[in-house]
């Protein structure tokens, strides 16, 4: 039985105070909190196993390597990849995306097309713009509608034999919209394009099955899944990963080096140059265990309940408007209150110990679409409670009173 009070005991940070008030943490879409079970794994790693991996004959190095490779297998199992060498451990979603974008430099030519969506995190649009500059490929954008959903008709019209790559996030960070990725993958494959899905926002809520999706690349960050910062993953189909050239040169990624020629290591090491964040990787595995122990069905049911509750309570505040009203969305509420600047609301909420995100959420095109400078974003996790949502609602009312 899921008992949120028990779950909360796993997260030491949830009992701290901010500005003299109990912390209400609603910035989960930016980064999730870390349970003691994961913190313990990091401490245990440095206490008992710390060594460099993949290169030592000594016991510590072998034990550390085993732990790291076990973590890779946990990621593989979680995402249901066919092989563990299809899982590249990276420093996060951004790194994973750049790795793929860089790899495509050598595969694209002038006139090829890359399709991205209007709902992207803009730091993720940049690698594609850079790729287009390098190769002469053209960037096309799937537009969105008022509800914050991608318009599939327009997507279909953008697809052609020139389409080489489609990049879409599984779930929008600014609005919480769940995009129809299965459909997008199927359609893109019909024209022979590869698909990269940014699962950074999806993985805290959904367990993706990369084989069932038949996706070519899927990326995520550990720090949004109760894991540590600076760690993430790239799943790529074996055939694709073999096709892409290495991203960075360095130790670990080579088989043989002479000054004339270097032969690269096989997968996954070809893409893992240098000493990785070993403790972080091991802790990523522990985080995956932690959330699977709770179970994604349980998490989804509980978070949807929080979302419905918060949506109803917030909408009861006069003048409050929610952006991102798709029926398919996760527990993210982006809103504005009359003409009050989101920054002002966020500042008052912070004084009340309530952590929300304000601003454009690195999704300026979405804000431009709605003609707003930004929103206040509250994002809920399975360790949040209805009482915390009540505190948010009271906080927003207080902000409204003070600011208008």
């Amino acid at each position: 039985m899921f008992n949120v009070q028990d779950i909360r005991k796993d997260f030491p940070i949830l009992s701290r105070k901010v500005n003299g008030k109990p912390l209400v943490y609603f910035d989960n879409a930016a980064t999730s909190q870390t349970p003691q079970q994961v913190i313990d794994v990091i401490v245990d790693y440095y206490t008992n196993y710390n060594a460099n991996i993949h290169r030592g004959v000594h016991t510590l190095s072998q034990e550390a390597t085993d732990l790291y490779e076990q973590a890779r297998q946990k990621v593989q199992t979680h995402f249901n990849a066919k092989f563990s060498h299809e899982i590249i451990l990276t420093s996060g979603t951004t790194h994973s995306i750049n790795l793929v974008a860089n790899g495509f430099s050598s595969l694209l030519k002038k006139g090829d097309e890359i399709i991205v969506s209007a709902l992207e995190h803009h730091s993720n649009i940049v690698p594609w713009q850079m790729l287009c500059e390098r190769t002469g490929a053209v960037l096309k954008v799937i537009p969105m509608n008022e509800d914050g959903e991608l318009v599939m008709n327009d997507f279909n019209n953008l697809l052609s034999k020139n389409t080489k790559l489609v990049f879409v996030n599984h779930i929008s960070n600014a609005l919480g919209t769940i995009n129809p990725i299965a459909y997008i993958i199927e359609k893109a494959h019909q024209v022979g394009a590869a698909v990269l899905i940014d699962g950074a926002q999806a993985c805290p809520h959904i367990k993706p099955d990369v084989q069932a999706l038949d996706v070519d690349f899927y990326v995520a960050s550990a720090h949004k899944m109760c894991g540590p910062t600076g760690v993430g993953m790239l799943y790529g189909k074996e055939a694709w990963l073999n096709k892409l050239p290495p991203y960075q040169g360095g130790g670990e990624m080579i088989a043989e080096v002479t000054f004339e020629k270097t032969t690269y290591a096989g997968l996954p090491h070809k893409f893992e140059a240098g000493t990785p964040n070993i403790a972080g990787g091991v802790a990523f595995g522990a985080a995956i265990d932690y959330i699977n122990n709770i179970g994604f069905d349980t998490i989804a049911a509980y978070e949807n309940d929080l979302l419905d509750y918060a949506t109803e309570k917030l909408l009861a505040i006069e003048g409050l408007k929610i952006y991102g009203t798709s029926k398919n969305k996760t527990s993210v509420i982006s809103f504005n209150l009359e003409n009050i600047h989101p920054y002002d609301i966020g500042t008052i909420l912070d004084k009340l110990g309530i952590a929300v995100r304000t601003g454009h959420h690195c999704a300026q095109p979405i804000m431009d679409f709605y003609r707003i400078p930004g929103t206040v974003r509250a994002s809920f996790s399975f360790y949040n409670t209805k009482e915390e949502i009540d505190a948010l609602v009271e906080g927003v009312k207080k902000a409204k009173m003070m600011l208008s």
């Binding site: 500005n19 009050i340 600047h341 989101p342 002002d344 500042t347 004084k351 601003g359 930004g374 003070m402």
Partner: protein, 140 residues
């Protein structure tokens, strides 16, 4: 009055407040009341790009003193701007260059001038000083 006198006056005013709510309400009211900048100066080139709230600053030399006007689209930011402008405007460039902003700490608003705060105020203070340096060079 010198910048320091004005700062002490502001510290006195804020010492009357018991809690953050009163301080913030006062600041919000300052922000609301003051028409801080002439619309013609709310130009793209006068914008200080903080991550979240926009801040505009305009400087003019009147005699041997600088007059600052400024604005923001966020009201709390605007309230602090009103306080900063009150301390720094109509002063000699040299005094502006030498002045510090510790008083913001003393009135319990330190967090707003933290370099990690994405509200543009830190850049605004820098900009005020840059203007002062530029005008000071002219005077010399």
């Amino acid at each position: 009055m010198t910048i320091e006198d004005i700062q002490n006056e502001i510290i006195d005013e804020f010492s009357m407040f018991d809690d953050w709510e009163e301080r913030y309400q006062y600041m919000i009211d300052l922000g609301k009341d003051l028409p801080l900048i002439d619309d013609q100066y709310k130009t793209e080139s006068n914008i200080i790009k903080g991550c979240q709230s926009k801040v505009w600053v305009h400087a003019e030399m009147k005699g041997d003193k600088i007059t600052f006007t400024a604005d923001s689209d966020a009201i709390i930011t605007k309230g602090i701007i009103a306080i900063l402008i009150r301390a720094f405007s109509d002063q000699h460039p040299k005094d502006i260059i030498d002045a510090n902003t510790d008083f913001i700490d003393k009135i319990g608003l330190k967090e707003h001038l933290s370099p990690t705060r994405a509200n543009g105020l830190v850049s605004m203070v820098k900009q005020l000083k840059m203007y002062a340096i530029a005008y000071q060079t002219q005077l010399n």
